[in-house]
């Protein structure tokens, strides 16, 4: 117990861990936001009828999904954007947004394909406009189908951000490693760090469950 106290709490050590956690969450949330927006756009391009755009989206998704995010991050930070003078966190957010976008685009496309085409056609015959058909028929169903996969994308994203120590960002993983080196207790410290990541994942799970139940309740009401 005393050992755990001296590793994680003593002399304000927990504040440093919180600061690291904040950086991790900052990068994760921003990347998720931009990644989802960009991913939706990509999915739109991917299913569009205009071939060049479709091919562009296909190539983008293939390249980004197939490349390790650490390599991507290092290439962007130390290569492409090295002269841009951007803060490291911004580069990390860009990288993870690009990466998440590819995954989101694919999961949205998969959800789209799972939908019955006949429903949209039926809506169109009933006089709905294209936008109305999307808004009232397609979109709610995509949300429902994509939710579980989206949840795992969120959890994955949070875990991927643990490599940002390579681009001079002190995130949760980096803080944990630093503590492990200082205290010479890597096993306990890294277990502690793992528990924090686990807690975040569990929190994401709880939030998704809660929203699921809420939407079910709303359905039952109406």
């Amino acid at each position: 117990m005393e050992l755990i106290y001296s590793i994680f709490i003593k002399d304000g050590g927990w504040l440093t861990i919180l600061k690291g956690l904040q950086v991790t969450l900052e990068i994760s949330v921003l990347s998720l936001l931009f990644g989802t927006l960009l991913g939706s756009l990509l999915c739109f391009l991917r299913v569009s009828k205009f071939t060049p755009l479709k091919i562009f989206a296909q190539v983008y998704i293939a390249i980004i999904r197939g490349s390790p995010v650490l390599m991507l991050l290092m290439l962007l930070f130390y290569g492409v954007l090295a002269r841009a003078g951007m803060p490291p966190v911004a580069v990390a957010v860009i990288t993870f947004s690009l990466h998440t976008a590819a995954h989101v685009a694919e999961l949205l496309r998969a959800s789209l394909m799972a939908l019955d085409k006949g429903q949209v056609e039926a809506a169109r015959t009933l006089g709905f406009s294209k936008w109305q058909a999307f808004k009232l028929v397609t979109f709610p169903q995509i949300c429902r189908i994509a939710k579980p996969v989206y949840q795992s994308t969120v959890v994955n994203l949070i875990q991927w951000t643990s490599v940002v120590g390579y681009v001079t960002i002190t995130d949760l993983t980096r803080v944990i490693n630093n503590i492990a080196s200082r205290t010479m207790q890597p096993m306990i410290t890294i277990t502690g760090g793992l528990l924090i990541y686990l807690a975040i994942s569990w929190l994401v799970h709880v939030i998704f469950n809660w929203s699921e139940r809420k939407s079910q309740l709303r359905q039952a009401d109406s």
């Binding site: 390599m71 980096r174 010479m184 890597p186």
Partner: protein, 288 residues
């Protein structure tokens, strides 16, 4: 080409010279029964910056020829950083780990899990510590060399070594170090990894501490320039240096005799400053 380079750099390290090992005849090993001197010992060390494992084997062979230290009885495993190295030892993947003597002292003082491997044939296998800068930064290298010389002559360096390495109280939190800031002066960015105590570690409040930081504070004062310390994963230091994200990193060199010049593992675009500290290698094993 770029990818290849990056991948290579990922295998970089802090303990550039920790490979030169030769201690102990038959004392090594934890759970192996009766060791005779011919027995192989599994030894863990931190990866060498810019040297592949094949190249390392060649260098070790040269060391053996030069110094008669029986390197070949060790089976080597390379770890990315000190944490991994230590976990390798604790989990029993390696029997011994090779560290700098002052790092080993720190480990012995902070944790009661380890003990020193006895053996006295380590003489002459010491490594020197220095700064590494980009090749084109000749002015910076000259400044650093000049400062190191000055600090050597007026005894500041010895005082720093005494305060932060030799006589540092390892049980206590390390002293806070303020790096003097000069308004409007040029800023030098220095990469630290935070994983080589007592040279380089990060305090509980998240600020870098240890000998390297104290040294940098002194250098900043003497050069009249600002020094910004950047915490970076050790695997990315070389990439950060060559892409100009940082200007200086810490490096260890291992000059042994004629055959093994100090720049044996130096990348082409990097230049070393004069050494400011020298340390021997020590081996640690788990307590029985």
């Amino acid at each position: 080409m770029k990818l290849k380079k990056v991948a290579k750099m990922l295998l970089s390290c802090v303990l550039a010279g920790a490979l030169f090992t030769g201690c102990g005849g038959s004392q090594g090993g934890t759970d192996k029964p009766a060791q005779d001197s011919g027995k192989e010992i599994k030894l863990g060390m931190i990866t060498h910056l810019n040297a592949t494992e094949t190249r390392m084997a060649e260098i070790l062979q040269m060391v053996q020829e030069e110094t008669k230290v029986p390197v070949s009885k060790y089976v080597l495993t390379y770890y990315n950083n000190l944490n991994n190295l230590q976990m390798g030892l604790e989990s029993g993947s390696v029997d011994e780990v090779s560290l700098y003597k002052c790092v080993a002292d720190f480990a012995l003082a902070t944790s009661d899990k380890f003990e020193l491997v006895a053996g006295d044939n380590l003489k002459g296998l010491s490594d020197s510590f220095c700064f590494a800068v980009r090749k084109e930064d000749t002015a910076l290298k000259a400044d650093l060399d000049k400062t190191i010389d000055e600090m050597k002559t007026d005894g500041t360096l010895d005082k720093l070594i005494n305060d932060f390495i030799t006589n540092v109280d390892k049980k206590q939190a390390p002293p806070k170090i303020d790096i003097p800031m000069t308004e409007g002066a040029q800023t030098i960015k220095v990469g630290v990894t935070g994983d080589l105590p007592p040279f380089d570690f990060v305090n509980t409040d998240g600020t870098p501490a240890g000998f390297n930081t104290a040294l940098l504070a002194e250098v900043a004062k003497r050069l009249g320039r600002n020094i910004e310390i950047v915490d970076i994963d050790s695997g990315a230091r070389a990439a950060a240096l060559s892409s100009k994200q940082i200007d200086v990193i810490f490096w260890a060199i291992v000059p042994i005799g004629e055959k093994i010049p100090s720049d044996i593992d130096k990348p082409e675009n990097v230049e070393m400053s004069k050494p400011y500290f020298k340390d021997d290698v020590a081996h640690l094993k788990l307590k029985k």
